[in-house]
Amino acid sequence: MTLHQAPGTPGSVLTFRPRYDNWIGGEWKAPVEGRYFENPTPVTGEVFTEVARSTAADVDLALDAAHAAAPAWGRTAPAERAAVLGAIADRIEAHLTELAVAEVWDNGKPIREALTADLPLAADHLRYFASAIRAQEGALSQLDEDTVAYHFHEPLGVVGQIIPWNFPLLMAVWKLAPALAAGNAVVLKPAEQTPASVLHLMDLIGDLLPPGVVNVVSGFGVEAGKPLASSPRIAKVAFTGETTTGRLIMQYASQNIIPVTLELGGKSPNVFFEDVAAARDEFYDKALEGFAMFALNQGEVCTCPSRALIQSSVYDSFLGDALERTRAIRQGHPLDTATMIGAQASNDQLEKILSYIEIGRAEGAKLLTGGERVDLGGALSGGYYVAPTVFEGDNGMRIFQEEIFGPVVAVTRFDGFDDAMAIANDTLYGLGAGVWTRDVHRAYRAGRAIQAGRVWTNCYHAYPAHAAFGGYKNSGIGREGHRMVLDHYQQTKNLLVSYARSGSGLF
């Protein structure tokens, strides 16, 4: 194990600026109204920097810069844009530990995840979209001997992106990479809970981008997010968050007649069929790890496997082993590489999780382990830590239906395939799901029957580029992480060309 040093302390790889302005037009610009807000770390609850509290005026400046940059950026050769994305990926890799520490300090996640998942995936997504734009081809249709329809991809222009706080850097890259590859300029608003790591990233990569191609405006949703999402000067808006804000953003988009892509969360079922327990082997162990994945990123993942469905015939023994695995989850200092679960991202997130634990109890769900705030002592006493929590109950309970966004899994049993599918699909959401079985036929049928955008089959929480990610039902519109996302950031230009010398004869 290694305990990385807190930012700004002796031996640390990172020092945050004491204050961050907005990144607009390739330089730091103070917010027009001169106001800043404090940014606390969930690791200790202490403030470590302050960040621009932007308003519509700052969004307008960012849009000015983006509009100034977009035409030239959109005309660059795909090879040139790909090279820029590749350079950003290289820079991220060269500063991997530094960015991981930044992410941990801003968000509270354990550094083992940031080092092995968030940052390597961010670099890989950039390289993937650099490759995808190089490999993208337009299409032509020969309509008759003398008439051809050419289809060109063109950038949308200037797009707005509002990103969440659970994977601040990775989610920023998920949205930036396809938008930039496709030739758009971007105004991006990080979440007010976690603006610092994205702003530090701009400190590291700002020189690699033409001024104005990426602009980062910090602030509160109502003061900065809304002016961005409702601006008639954006050609598209992409948002990751929750359903009510998602609807509101669609509402604004309808006024401007622009497309939206939304990723709005879920209540993902993780289905364990009885044959998983046919042997106590490596695969059984993998399935137990799959159960414990509800604690990844403290459960603050839109695809958190927050409902575990276990077949009745093996319910007691599998759940017993799963509880043992859950109790072995090591909670500790998020900067310690041995720590498996860190801090919830904010105080209000902590309070919300605790309120759901209370309603779970009140509805009659049985608390099997966890269920409480954890005091890790010392400086960490002020941080926001929750013990991994397992409830047993039935799928009609609110803890089975609402996204808690914490390390809380609700477990229930099922009898047979059809029952499993009925429970799995009895949810408003359809983002992720897990299926665990040794039977390939069952795995295939379950994967096709579950109404979710991604069904992890004998795995969970893998987020590679080149696999489409997105929601069915209330979980949103659009996909991420796959070359098809380029379409979400491109117009189709059709040139309908006649090579005939003679007219049509109508007039």
Binding site: F37, P40, R53, P164, W165, N166, A191, E192, Q193, F220, G221, V222, E223, G225, K226, A229, T240, G241, E242, T243, T244, T245, G246, R247, L248, Q251, E263, L264, G265, G266, E300, C302, S346, N347, D348, Q349, E351, K352, S355, Y356, E358, I359, R361, A362, E363, G364, D394, G396, M397, R398, Q401, E402, E403, I404, F405, L428, Y429, N474, S475
Partner: protein, 142 residues
């Protein structure tokens, strides 16, 4: 606790005070309960009329807050199916964010606290508990 509770929804004194503060700046207010990711499962507070409600929504009730117009509390109809057996109290905690909810810049966050409705309340509301267990034994106020 409930400064003007109304059937399915109520509001704590602290939340009512914050609503009065917000109304001074933004005028009449409304809530829509959010579902889903990140900042979800939280009540979102907007200027009245900012969020378009329609057939997809249910009006849970209106909060009576001294000095303010009634504050309607809405929820998506499909989500309500799972919540209809619970009484919701809008409270406030120190927080950061989120969504486009009006209170975020004040360093506070509205939060839902829930308790199970009693049989008497459910009868008065004219519907059976259709989302929960309806168990007799646990109706503590949260």
């Amino acid at each position: 606790m409930a400064a003007g509770s109304h059937r399915r929804v109520g509001v704590t004194d602290a939340a009512a005070a914050l609503l009065r503060e917000l109304a001074r700046v933004h005028g009449p207010l409304m809530f829509h309960q959010s579902g889903g990711c990140c900042d979800g499962s939280s009540p979102m507070c907007y200027p009245a009329g900012e969020f378009l409600v329609g057939e997809a929504d249910v009006l849970l009730g209106e909060l009576a807050v001294d000095g303010l117009d009634p504050v309607p509390v809405w929820m998506a109809r499909d989500q309500f199916a799972y919540w209809s057996h619970t009484f919701l109290t809008i409270d406030v905690v120190p927080g950061r964010g989120s969504g486009f909810s009006l209170e975020a810049p004040t360093g506070n966050r509205f939060l839902i606290r829930s308790r199970l409705l009693t049989d008497e309340e459910l009868t008065a509301l004219g519907r059976a508990s259709d989302g929960g267990t309806g168990r007799e034994d646990d109706r503590s106020i949260l």
